[in-house]
């Protein structure tokens, strides 16, 4: 049962360095490509940026010069602002766009507009409710959820009670992780009972902390394991578990994504494992795929950028270190 999971994890690791696509033919003149993230300040987006610049370096080495423009919305997490950014680049007439849509519906029309203006768009990170894009390059969140579930099941020895605290209503990526976790529990760990899977944490750490406390006051005595579908829930749930004195491995917590605090918790043993994505690879593959498409090659409609499971045992391995601390300076320092 776990072989395919392991295989996927290994595949993810193999491609950590070198984003897995080889250089094709080079069509001489330079391309201008704009990369539009959801925001610009988060660590995650810096890694995407670094990945895009890495792609530029690799393409340059292959004889294809590419100009990368990095432009986030003026106000972060503002759909209207991101639409304006897309529109302004349509007006400017770039060769192609790599876009992380803030909303799976609001950005549909701008992407279609872009298509009608003959500017191909590669979607990264989050999905979009249309098929008028060139390719969708992102983490397989369902697989990530299954991976976390498999590890939790293994830690519990196939029996016990687990909790799932969902992230927020309407968030596509975390919903898939939650579904992946539940599917894994249902199919492969019939001895484990899911005590609660219908509670939502909400968008901020503060809300997540309150929701965690409420959930633990109800199930705190029976719970053996908890799955948290994103970074803010992981940190807040760990804190709430510490509050009731069950931290340090009495309750196994599997989290998603990393932050300074969740890594600290992982090291101290309060968190049993973290499922991590590979934003550097996502940024790199996004640009590579677009350039391949612009060069006239057929590209896959869906490209997976892989997930990996980090535990306190393997976190010091070089591969994992590169995932945890991507060499951003190497690219961002020398980039534009």
């Amino acid at each position: 049962m776990k072989s395919w999971l392991l295989g996927a994890a290994c595949a993810a690791l193999v491609f950590v360095s070198g984003c897995g696509s080889q250089s094709g033919d080079s069509s001489g003149n330079g391309l201008t490509i704009v990369v539009i993230p959801k925001g610009t300040t988060h660590e995650f987006w810096k890694s995407i940026h670094a990945g895009a610049l890495k792609a530029r370096q690799e393409l340059k080495a292959a004889g294809q010069s590419v100009d990368i423009i990095w432009k986030g919305p003026l106000k972060e997490d503002d759909r209207d602002e991101q639409i304006k950014v897309v529109e302004n680049f349509i007006a400017r007439g770039v060769d192609g766009m790599v876009l992380a849509p803030l909303d799976d519906k609001a950005l549909v029309r701008p992407v279609e507009t872009s298509g009608n203006a003959d500017i191909p768009v590669v979607i990264i990170d989050s999905g979009l409710q249309t098929d008028k894009y060139t390719s969708f390059v992102a983490t397989d969140n369902h697989l990530g959820g299954r991976m976390g579930g498999a590890h939790l099941g293994k830690l519990l020895g196939g029996k016990g009670n687990v909790l799932l605290l969902r992230y927020a209503v309407g968030s596509a990526s975390t919903t898939k992780r939650e579904q992946g976790f539940l599917d894994e529990m249902k199919e492969n760990f019939p001895g484990i009972e899911v005590l609660s899977s219908d509670q939502y944490a909400g968008a901020t750490r503060d809300l997540a902390y309150t929701a965690s406390q409420n959930l633990l006051s109800r199930y705190g005595n029976e719970v053996n394991g908890i799955f948290c579908p994103n970074e803010s829930v992981t940190v807040s749930m760990t804190k709430a578990v510490r509050d009731i004195g069950k931290a340090g491995g009495m309750v196994k917590i599997i989290g998603f994504d990393t932050s300074v605090q969740s890594l600290r918790d992982l090291k101290s043993g309060d968190v049993a494992g973290l499922v991590v994505q590979n934003p550097l690879k996502m940024g790199c593959l996004g640009v590579m795929t677009l350039v391949e498409h612009l060069g006239g090659k057929a590209v896959a409609k869906r490209i997976d950028t892989g997930v990996a499971l980090i535990t306190s045992e393997n976190m010091s391995e070089p591969d994992m270190q590169e995932l945890l601390n991507p060499p951003l300076e190497k690219y961002l320092g020398t980039g534009n």
């Binding site: 304006k84 007006a91 507009t113 209503v169």
Partner: protein
Amino acid sequence: MSLSTLFNRRINRLGSRDFLKAIRPFVGLFVVLLLFAMDAELRSLFFKGSNFKMILTQTVIVAIGAMGMTLVIVSGGIDLSAGSVVALCSVVTAKLIEQGHGFAVVLLLTVLAGGLVGLANGGIITAFRMMPFIVTLGMMGIARGISKWLANNQTVNPEQPLESVNSLMDNSQSPLTFSPLPDGVWLALGLAVLMAVVLRSTVFGRYVFAIGSNEDTARLCGIRVNFNKVVIYALAGAFFGLAGVMQFSRLTQGDPSVAIGLELQIIAAVVIGGASLSGGAGSIPGSVIGAFMMACLANGSGIKDWPNYMQEIIIGVVIILAVGMDKVEPFIQRLFKRQSSSN
């Protein structure tokens, strides 16, 4: 010198100052376009029909909001709840479409919802003699809260989209040509003409100026100040409601967290357009040009790939310049006068 010539001169002077003031936003826009035309990259990319269609579409929401805000500011008030009302009304639009209503009903009820919020603003301001700043600041939170409540803290996506509403701001089918302009742009242009006439040439319009110039005098002249103020805020709310419909059309979803800080953009457009925050001055064409100018600046900065912070700084400078001209112009005029009298 006879009394009549003195009087005439006075009228002339007043007239010329008013004229200068009225054309100032147009001059400002002209200067911006001129600066853009001097740049080779912008010349080829900015001055394209397709780009102007895009800018016009981006202007619609702020411009419609600015029409309502102009009424309020000319009457000596302020409405800080504009952005929240736009968000609330975008959610209301989504909810109405979800319930399967047609175009006319959706439009009317949404505008009405905005008008009701405005009515509450005006009612509280006049009934309790409270500062518009405080009341609308409170309403900003209330309307935002209600929109999140209505939307259950998430975006509202009608399962059966209403194409007529969605197409109000839709450019996706012809991104490379100037025509056809989306319906929303025509609607905004038509409303601008209508409101310019209302503010300049109707009794109500003159009352708005009278109240803004001097409320006590207006009251002594027999103007029903309180009644007119309530009407002004309600009308402004209705415009924010219409802007909410446009906001929905732009996102194709009702979003309770949209348009945060939009009220400041709207106020900036009105002020760039020559309105005075102490009341009694301002015009609809000026405000609409102000909104258009800000969209041009943002679009130009985008094309030039200036970083976001540069864009914010530039628009900030433009706002201060626009208002600062009030102080600079009399100085220049005096300079001219001295020259002509020495001749």
